[in-house]
């Protein structure tokens, strides 16, 4: 119907499958994601370190290039679990900052002016809403963590041969799982905080503060009680403990990997609880 024919008419066309509705949220959120130049610039910046690593891996495999320098053909870098652990540490730090930029802008605009009611009065559940919003963070953060990580691993495998690949396949598992754990925690926390603190900038700041305050609190407990169990309150340390397990470097954080898993699960549960308390169409006024 032409828009100038201003009469009401119903809709009798095709309907999209119910399961695909959360992807609509992903698409619309993604469109607004890189409107900020600073955000876009930072996202691009996140690819510099993987690029540097790529150059390092390439140079390491082509040492003859440096023969004119009179250098002996000793490896420049040890491309092993430690190398990829360092890679993941740097990229996870960058992804943390990127999540502080992106995360709060996903839920808070919907809550600020009551638009959430309009989402939930449609055939979209609260879980689908959270999934849709989370998928934005998961995909964007994946682009700067495990995707380039796996690419680096693949390049190294192609340069070193099948034997290296077979011996070090656990590194690829570590990259993927380590990244996923980190992304999941960042996504849940940033969405939960932005649901409670509707001002976007404050929510971003709170995300950064949660990690730093948690770390400080953990240090204080350790100092007062002369223990290392305080680190269980530091999310960064919990993730690091699991990563050390995944990358098999034998570093002891003062608590077991199982304890770290339990603490992280409790943390995720708490974030979900915060999120579900706020992601509602209406609140009961007592």
């Amino acid at each position: 119907m032409a828009v100038y024919k201003r009469t009401y008419r119903g809709y009798s066309g095709a309907i999209t499958p119910s399961w695909s509705r959360f992807l609509v949220l992903f698409r619309f959120s993604r469109e607004t994601l890189f409107r900020s130049k600073v955000q876009t610039a930072f996202f691009v910046l996140c690819f510099f370190f993987p690029l540097l690593c790529l150059l390092g891996i390439y140079a390491n495999a082509h040492l003859s290039v440096f023969s004119f320098l009179g250098r002996r053909s000793e490896p420049l870098l040890n491309i092993n679990g430690q190398f990829f652990f360092t890679y993941l540490t740097v990229q996870s730090t960058l992804s943390f900052i990127l999540a502080a930029f992106i995360g709060p802008g996903l839920v808070s605009p919907d809550l600020a002016n009551g638009a959430l009611t309009l989402y939930l009065c449609r055939p979209l559940s609260r879980t689908e809403y959270v999934l849709g919003k989370m998928s934005v963070l998961v995909i964007v953060l994946s682009w700067i963590t495990w995707v380039p990580g796996l690419l680096l691993f693949a390049v190294q495998a192609s340069l070193s041969g099948w034997q290296w690949l077979a011996d070090n396949l656990w590194i690829a598992t570590g990259i993927v799982w380590g990244s996923f754990i980190w992304i999941l925690i960042l996504s849940l926390l940033s969405l939960a905080l932005s649901a409670w603190v509707k001002w976007r900038i404050a929510a971003g700041g709170l995300l950064l503060a949660t990690f730093w305050v948690g770390a400080g609190f953990a240090q204080a407990i350790n100092a007062v009680l002369r223990t290392k169990q305080g680190y269980l309150l530091d999310v960064g340390n919990l993730v690091a403990a699991i990563w050390h397990g995944l990358f098999r470097d034998g570093v002891n954080m003062g608590f077991s990997v199982t304890e770290a898993w339990i603490a992280l699960l409790a943390f995720c549960g708490f974030c979900l609880l915060l999120l579900m308390r706020k992601v509602k169409a209406n609140e009961v006024i007592r």
């Binding site: 201003r6 009401y8 119903g10 809709y11 999209t16 509705r21 619309f28 607004t32 449609r122 209406n282």
Partner: protein, 334 residues
Amino acid sequence: MPQANQTETTTSPAAVPATVTAPRDGPPVIELRGLSVRLAGREVLRDLTCSFSGRTIGLLGPNGAGKSTLINTLLGFWSPSAGSAHVFGSDIRTEAKKIRTLIGYMPENDAFISNMTAVSFIRLMAELSGLPSEAALERAHEALFYVGLGEARYRKLGTYSLGMKQLAKLAQAIAHGPKLLILDEPTNGLDPPARQRMIRLVREMRDSREMHIVLCSHLLRDVEETCEEVVILKQGRVVHYSNLEDERRSNRRFLELELYGDTERFLEAVESLGCESAPGARNRLKLVLAENVEIRDIYNIAAAQNVQLRRVSFRRDTLEDIFLKAMENTNGGL
């Protein structure tokens, strides 16, 4: 005029406080069977049993009567503590998603994303209702033009005036072509011309016969101008149901006259046509017109009997009268 409330489709609150059934000739739009809703330990809706099939249903009641809770329950936001509710035959407990596909909802409060343009916002909402991307975009443009925001559709919603935001809320509610449109206080905060525009749109949509409309308002005039059926809630109970169309039709037959001349012969002539009369003081007369008698006949009799009609007035119950009676009859006053 006590007879005005004695029509078949009007339920006196004293007679049947919570059980009303509208006449229907198809599956009911909304059917409540003993519906109770408890929020924060308080029973907000109590044992509602109603069935509505009309095109436009007005939901009236004082603040805290449970109007919004009823709407939220139909949308699946609250779960019933007892009883059940069906929308187009679908149970709100088990088929909430299906029901939401059929419903368009315009909430009372602000509901928008301030940094989105109107067309993007409406498109997003239409897509979430299940429309494919291209169809959603087309419908978003159409809906915005229809409500009168065509020229402002690329402006961010945060820059809209209150009246424009109301229209944008209406546009998002109709963009996906719902079968049931729920409007919660649609004229809130609108100036008279904007209110007129909103009422006209509601009437047009009603007359398009593409959808049923539930209009929840505390402005009786809005309901009176747009609705066929009215349900009045008080303290979580249905205290009155009336079919306004029937009310209007029946009330049209009540006349108040002031005569000068030979009233006796005039009365005899009028009663011979089957009309009921009740003489009052000072040549005043109340008439209940018989079915086949028109007002013209009364004028003709007056001319034939050489009686002057100095005042003729239709007396019909306004919705306000009905509302006030409903409020008074339940527990002795407002």
